[in-house]
């Protein structure tokens, strides 16, 4: 376990050793902050609804930038060869890489806590709904990260890694959109609705954290981390 923690620390350090980490956090905070402030001051709503509504789209561009280099850069520079020569199982390396991106997500989220603190001071929001929103955001973000890491493990090119991740997340997001679902037979539509990030996130945003939503996100995370471990343990390098 110590070795996995060593990897987590190393990955986080390298995230914040480059300007990219700071840029990602700043972009996230500026855009999410602006969306909130707009609804708060212009429409006078003491809720975080507009903030959370934006998250699936904002995460779609921010989190792939965090995961894009995770494996790709190691493959490109060849350091993956050193990494794989260490006496640690592939599964642990995959989990460590996931955890490091998760901690990054956590850091981003923690910075936004100023928003609920401000609302609570100025008005009387529904705290349960806000808490549910934050829990939902962590699960949603973790799912995006798991997809991003898997994509990163199949290419040496960070840009490709970023773009493909965005596309896959977008597909997972859009398949729950009613505009798309209405054009499909009902069986396909219900599958699409079930698989969509949007459906489950919206249901959490209403303030109800149901087991099925949590299980959905956990399954997505495990599925893509499994694919990631599979890609790595196939040893199909070069």
């Amino acid at each position: 376990m110590n070795k996995a923690i060593t990897i987590v620390k190393k990955e986080l350090n390298s995230n914040f050793n480059s300007p990219l980490g700071y840029i990602v956090v700043s972009v996230f905070l500026v855009i999410s902050g602006w969306m909130f402030i707009q609804s708060f001051f212009i429409f006078g709503q003491a809720s975080m609804r507009s903030f959370f509504n934006l998250l699936p789209i904002l995460f779609m561009f921010v989190l792939p930038a965090v995961t894009m280099s995770s494996w790709s850069e190691e493959k490109r520079s060849g350091t993956v060869e050193v990494l794989m020569s260490f006496p640690i199982s592939t599964v642990k390396v995959v989990i460590a890489k996931f955890l490091s991106s998760f901690v990054f997500l956590l850091i981003m989220i923690v910075f936004t806590l100023t928003i609920p603190m401000m609302i609570t001071n100025l008005g009387t929001p529904d705290r349960g709904v806000m808490l549910a929103g934050y829990i939902g955001a962590l699960f949603l973000g973790s799912s995006y990260i798991a997809i991003g890491l898997w994509v990163s493990s199949i290419t040496k090119n960070q840009i490709i890694s970023f773009l493909v991740t965005v596309v896959i997340i977008f597909v997972f997001y859009i398949i729950g959109n009613s505009m798309i679902l209405d054009t499909m037979p009902s069986v396909v539509a219900s599958v699409g609705k079930f698989l969509s990030f949007a459906t489950h996130f919206d249901s959490i945003l209403r303030g109800v954290i149901s087991l099925s939503d949590i299980l959905y996100y956990i399954s997505i995370i495990i599925f893509f981390l499994f694919l990631n471990a599979r890609v790595v343990s196939l040893k199909n390098w070069r």
Binding site: K3, S77, V82, M84, S85, F86, P87, R238
Partner: protein, 309 residues
């Protein structure tokens, strides 16, 4: 210590290794020699479990490396420097070596002791706080070697440790490898013969995925014909009369002529240089150069790795 049996590795249609077998005993310093693309890197990558072989078996201390449960135990015994010494560019030398040390399971109490040990051994003291991206090729290679040594492994595998270095750096790394070889089993790959000859107690020559020669550098030279010698002559002007006269000297096997150079194959025991010199001077052909060369590792290498077609 390491036993490789009938190792085959295919990438699609391309066969990188085609039935490689050998056995290494503890303490050997083995050079794997071969032209580019011969399969050296593939072989080393299989030994460190970075790649899986298509068929065949590798055991380290009688443990099969294809067993996932044993793999980690085996990996801990090996220090590995991949080709080109890939490093995390944004770390300093010390940060990187501490990271590797921890990944190799060194406890926090011991890590600084081990760190200063490898830093001294690999001559990295003045660069220990430098960011890796600022290092010269020579220091990068040293950092890579230090990384392979930090956990005091039994086996050290170095893929082309001296490629891309200037002559001075090369000698330094060569001395470092000799030093390491005193206490550990070392496998290194190279396509530079002098390198291998200077550092290795045993040489495996590999070509097109097959081992074509195996032995000490001296043995291989002998196999290539230690009793044979070539005499290289350069004269001012060459005439057919001269060649005829040289041909009849006892001990001349055959004569090759390239412009005004003559190459004579002969035996080592039988020194015919005096005779040749006398004839050339008497016939007034203007002797410019006369050298006898014994067949060396380079000739063996070139002969063994020549394309057949």
């Amino acid at each position: 210590m390491i036993k490789v049996e009938n190792l085959v590795k295919k990438y699609g249609d391309f066969t990188a290794l085609n039935g490689v077998s050998f056995e290494l005993v503890e303490g050997e310093v083995v050079g794997i020699l071969g032209p580019n693309g011969a399969g050296k890197t593939t072989l080393l990558r299989i030994l460190v479990s970075f790649l899986e072989s298509t068929s065949g078996k590798v055991t380290v201390n009688n443990m099969d490396i294809s067993q996932p449960l044993l793999q980690q135990q085996i990996k801990g015994k090996i220090g590995y420097l991949p080709e080109q010494a890939p490093l995390y560019e944004d770390m300093t030398v010390s940060e990187y070596l501490i990271f590797v040390g921890k990944m190799q399971g060194i406890s926090s109490d011991e890590i600084y002791e081990k760190l200063s040990e490898v830093i001294n051994k690999c001559g990295l003291r003045e660069k220990k706080n430098a960011e890796i991206s600022t290092l010269s090729k020579g220091y990068r290679q040293r950092t890579g070697i230090a990384q392979a040594l930090i956990h005091n492994p039994e086996i050290v595998i170095l893929d082309e440790p001296t490629t891309g270095l200037d002559p001075k750096q090369r000698i330094e790394i060569r001395d470092l490898i000799k030093e390491i070889g005193k206490s550990k089993t070392v496998i290194l790959s190279s396509h530079v013969l002098s390198e291998v000859k200077a550092t290795c107690s045993r040489v495996l020559i590999i070509n097109k995925g097959k081992i074509v020669a195996d032995g000490t550098p001296e043995e291989l030279e002998n196999k290539g014909g230690a009793d044979k010698a070539t005499i290289h002559i350069e004269v001012d002007k060459i005439g057919s009369g001269l060649v005829q006269k040289l041909e009849v000297i006892e001990g001349v096997n055959n004569i090759e002529i390239i412009e005004n150079r003559i190459i004579i194959n002969s035996n080592l025991q039988n020194d015919i240089r005096k005779e040749i010199a006398r004839i050339i001077i008497e016939e007034n052909h203007g002797l410019l150069e006369l050298v006898r060369k014994q067949i060396d590792l380079e000739d063996v290498f070139i002969n063994l790795t020549k394309d057949d077609e």
